[in-house]
Amino acid sequence: MSTVLVVTEQKYDAQKNAAISRISLEALAAGQALAASLGADCAAAVLGDSSAANELTSKALSRVYLLEHPLLKQYTPDAYNKALEQLIRATSPAWVLFPHTYQVRDFAPALAARFGQSLISDVIAIRPGPTFVRQLFQGKLNAEYHRAGSDSAPGFISVQAGSFRVEDLQPGTAAIEAFQVELADGDIRTKPSEPFRESAQTVDLAAAPIIVSVGRGIREQENMPLVESLAQALGAELAASRPICDAGWFPIERQVGSSGHTVAPRLYLAVGISGAIQHLVGMKGSKTIIAINKDENAPIFEVADYGVVGDLFEIVPELTKAINSAKS
């Protein structure tokens, strides 16, 4: 029987206890669904930590492969690619599926290339075929992808956060199988240091009930007082999409999205934000989303409850004025 192999990742808590990350559980749900549609088995791979593998024995998986080696304790692309290459050659899965994380982006494209394949990255839906849906142009358009040519090597897929549901992960029983990997110090060309944070956080965006968030549409730093006044009128915290923080107009601690914070306030008011997937994953759980953008096709309107297509430089001052007079 052919197999869909899902490569998982762990998250560590403050006590350094490992758990399978949420996006990996989503990837497992996607893998199970793909396997079911193909009449295939779904297996999982866990690298580095056996306690995380135990967590998967209660899921409907044909096997949980555990790859333990001192050189897999700390992630490097060389060690991960060599170890996974050995596992894939030994078990010949039909598909290899990853969560689309920063770590996966660092190694999986090269792993696919080792098998003469291109990774279909950042998949948001899997349809019969199998057909893989991913976004183009920061979410303005979607595209369907298929495998082409021979299927003598596995197909490689990574799935976006929030696109598949952990609740769909089927329970069952799975056996852990230790897989011996051959790794030597000389295989590892890069030397990672311990992760660090840049500075102490001074705002807690995750706790803010109202967030006014600003994007590229604001154009110039000197226009920022427009949204600052709006935030003040609403008693809101200010946040931004990545380009604003890249430009240095806001500190990175106010960034919402996959490279910043994930927030779910009562109200998220997006001003001049087009809504690239990297931003949407950080805010689409908000209770109410209002979006003001000049482009009616901006993907932010796909997740907004209320949308305004128009010039923020006209609408925001009027809105601030109206809120202030409504309060007085």
Partner: protein, 254 residues
């Protein structure tokens, strides 16, 4: 240090996109094309490294004739020379086939460092740099914000998720994909634009990839809405009044 920067030209961010009649890509006529923004950060990092340590910055861009405008801009910002990898059909290649074409062109230059943006604004696959490293047999790192030269190679600052960072040491030669925001982008000066005219742009015909595509983009379509969005219309004052009403009665934050 000899630094090669692989650049992509993409439609400008504000472009009104329409789907081509065969639904395999977008309608390209009438679009304005610019440098892919993460690649602009890669170029900036390369220029700063050269300013600190000397050497040469080579800009490489693959595509039809229109991409020479993006190469000219790179030269005007300070790249020393440019290579145009000429082809009208690169758009149909998958990641691996395109990386094979790029790797062929890069090999003869034997750069110490190859930089590219972490992903493109159009396809957004985010893989070219990593696959290039694999094909060239070089170590790599991704999502890099800053590069520092060390006695044995380089030390990079890499972005992790949730506001974490990490330093990674690599030997040279190496491939890095650059995350946006690590530097402030420079503008081309008048002097730079003048100087660019005297700099070399070499045109090389792109090799036809030996391997068939393993992945195919078969259909482009408009995204389905995930939510029922209520669109508010009217004059700015009318819209503001409607929003206040929603904030009061529906969202209940006023």
């Amino acid at each position: 240090m000899k630094i090669l920067v692989a650049i992509k030209q993409v439609p400008e961010r504000d472009a009104q996109l329409s789907i081509a009649s065969d639904a395999r890509w977008i309608e390209e006529d009438g679009l304005n094309y610019v440098i892919n923004e993460p690649d602009a950060y890669a170029l900036e990092e390369a220029l700063q490294l050269r300013e600190q340590h000397g050497g040469e910055v080579i800009a490489l861009c693959a595509g039809p004739d229109r991409v020479t405008s993006t190469l000219r801009e790179a030269l005007a910002k300070g790249a020393d020379r440019a290579i145009h990898l000429a082809s009208d059909t690169l758009g149909t290649l998958d990641t691996l086939a395109l990386a094979l074409v790029l790797a062929d062109a890069i090999r003869s230059e034997s750069p110490d460092l190859i930089l590219t943006g972490l992903q493109s604004d159009d396809l957004g696959l985010g893989q070219t740099g990593v696959v290039l490293a694999e094909l060239l047999g070089l170590p790599h790192s991704t999502l890099v914000l800053h590069v520092e030269k060390t006695a044995t190679g380089i030390r990079v600052k890499r972005e992790l998720e949730d506001g974490w960072f990490q330093h990674i040491d690599l030997p040279l030669p190496a491939v890095l994909t650059i995350q946006s925001g690590g530097n402030k982008l420079r503008y081309a000066t008048l002097m730079g634009i003048k100087k660019a005219k005297t700099k070399e742009t070499r045109t090389v015909e792109a090799a036809t990839p030996a391997t068939p595509a393993t992945v195919e983009l078969t259909r482009v379509f408009l995204p389905e809405k995930q939510k029922q969005t209520q669109m508010l219309t009217g004059s700015p004052a009318e819209i503001a009044a409607q929003l206040v009403e929603k904030l009061r009665s529906e969202v209940r934050v006023l």
